[in-house]
Symmetry: C2
Subunit: 374 residues, 2 copies
Amino acid sequence: MLETSSVGAVVPQTAHFDSAIVLASGAQIAQYDLVYETYGELNPACSNAVLVCHALSGNHHVAGYYAGQEESGWWDNMVGPGKPIDTRRFFVIGVNNLGGCHGSTGPASIDPASGKPFGAGFPLMTVEDWVETQARLAQRFGITQFAAIIGGSLGGMQALQWSISRPEQVRHVIAIAAAPKLTAQNIAFNDVARQAILTDPDFHGGNFCAQDAVPRRGLRLARMLGHITYLSDDSMAEKFGRGLRSGAYSFGYDVEFEIESYLRYQGDKFAASFDANTYLLMTKALDYFDPARAYNGNLSAAFRGARAKYLVLAFTSDWRFSPGRSRDIVKALLDNELDVSFAQITSNHGHDSFLMEDEHYHDLLRAYMNNIEI
Amino acid sequence: MLETSSVGAVVPQTAHFDSAIVLASGAQIAQYDLVYETYGELNPACSNAVLVCHALSGNHHVAGYYAGQEESGWWDNMVGPGKPIDTRRFFVIGVNNLGGCHGSTGPASIDPASGKPFGAGFPLMTVEDWVETQARLAQRFGITQFAAIIGGSLGGMQALQWSISRPEQVRHVIAIAAAPKLTAQNIAFNDVARQAILTDPDFHGGNFCAQDAVPRRGLRLARMLGHITYLSDDSMAEKFGRGLRSGAYSFGYDVEFEIESYLRYQGDKFAASFDANTYLLMTKALDYFDPARAYNGNLSAAFRGARAKYLVLAFTSDWRFSPGRSRDIVKALLDNELDVSFAQITSNHGHDSFLMEDEHYHDLLRAYMNNIEI
């Protein structure tokens, strides 16, 4: 039996940056905050740092808990003493992406220039932009090279981009349930979610904060739809099947099937806490991610300058970013004679598998992390 | 080369029914109209009748065209002289389902009792209810037994239900891209579509007609989402890929990718013409369809009284109702020693394949139809 424990109570920190950042879109942000958490101790050589990048609706609260609150960070099963990313050995950073809605400067923040929320005025972000901001945060710690950068889904894309944008600054990239670019179907789902938000009368062209409104209907629909793509057909069948709340058909439009109850609950919870403009820009960053684009669609060429070692993980039942998409990444890395480990993990939890505590998955990650020299 | 032609200009007919129908929900409709079209000639023995059942957004206009209009019926490639359902041999009926919005009595129709549109007062329908109304229409023609009943998707479910509800009244059932019941994932997609409509402020609890409003936003989202599930990942990739309308990222929320343009166009077109209450009740009829339910989930038991011969067709790239769902139907039929032909057709058009003109698919159907004795 492995002994694992929690990193315990944590307190988020804020780093303020007052030199402007020029984004891929050409837009600038004059000054901004990044909120982050750290777990473990940075060693004197600054060689044991691990950056955890978050996915669409994630944030900096990766592990541990806030005093007085029960809920743990979103990857608490992965990060902590004795856990696959062992905080007795590694210094782990979680950061809320610029444009987020959990403390880092984003659309809901006050624009110092106007004294009002940025709202629709907040610029769109790309994965490359996030790498730049994360690199600036690393500088604050004196970290010139990460031992590893790791993420699932959109987080995995950031990890991959690091090795392209800043090849000397990351030794290991761990990309889980990721893809080298979105398909038309992926973009289509994102666009339905965006249209749900954009056409919500409470969206007010993105300036809903100023109107004291919240586009809850749109956010709720976006989240309900997202959830379907995070789960597998099989896991939904297993968990909910055709179960009815009351045991009989009600011939009306109130909640009837268990799956409806689950989805609406998830949608409501999300709509009460997440910023609509952040959701929009996160989905756009997903759509835009396509490192091969600058190389006429040649993904191998995109990784030509990469120097990292890679672990690429995919899950059998993930139909959002299927294992084939991970194999596309592996192929491009091998074309460059890079050091790649790849595993396709049998799991019926769909895309969400990357968040789950699966023994095979965690053992693989633990073994990989343990082999990283620091 | 096969010579085929159009059934030519057609005119829809209306049958009025003034004896009440009691629905599966227990609700009654006192009187109603069914609008229908026919192609070919009913033979004196009334033994060459074919009923075509429509899917979620279909209607009675199966083949031919309306004078002065260019667009043909939704299955014009399938029904006509020399076509797989050959109108030189068969008398074909297309009928708009009760609850529809193309002429048959539905939520947008005027309730004679109140002089106002039914709106939210229109009862929910089931596949069994539609079989009952279609049987009443058949009586008007003196048809006591259909040579064949055919449909794709929800239409296929109606064809299957006929052989359960009225086993002596159908000789051949052709169920294409169908399923014996919806999965949790299927229901989940339907529920997101319904929630988009139900939470549209212009829905007014279903009584939007009385408010001179149309819940266009909700209908549009529902249709956009539906479209994703009708197409395959591959066909979307082939048709749209990551193509950009302007060739460059625009860093805004207007149409950017080709797939967005396509989906929004389809959504807008649909929202301008389809009734929201009809959409809701059609999706509910899909969710409710589950002939095994009355037999403790035993689908084979549901077909115990069936006497028809069956052709079951599925398409390889259909992920809405995958070939495995068709095999479930075939298995239940074989358990009852029924005569079943089954084919899994290679097609990359997803669920929509049943509407497409694919040579292998059409040849199969033509051969099957030609072998039906009349």
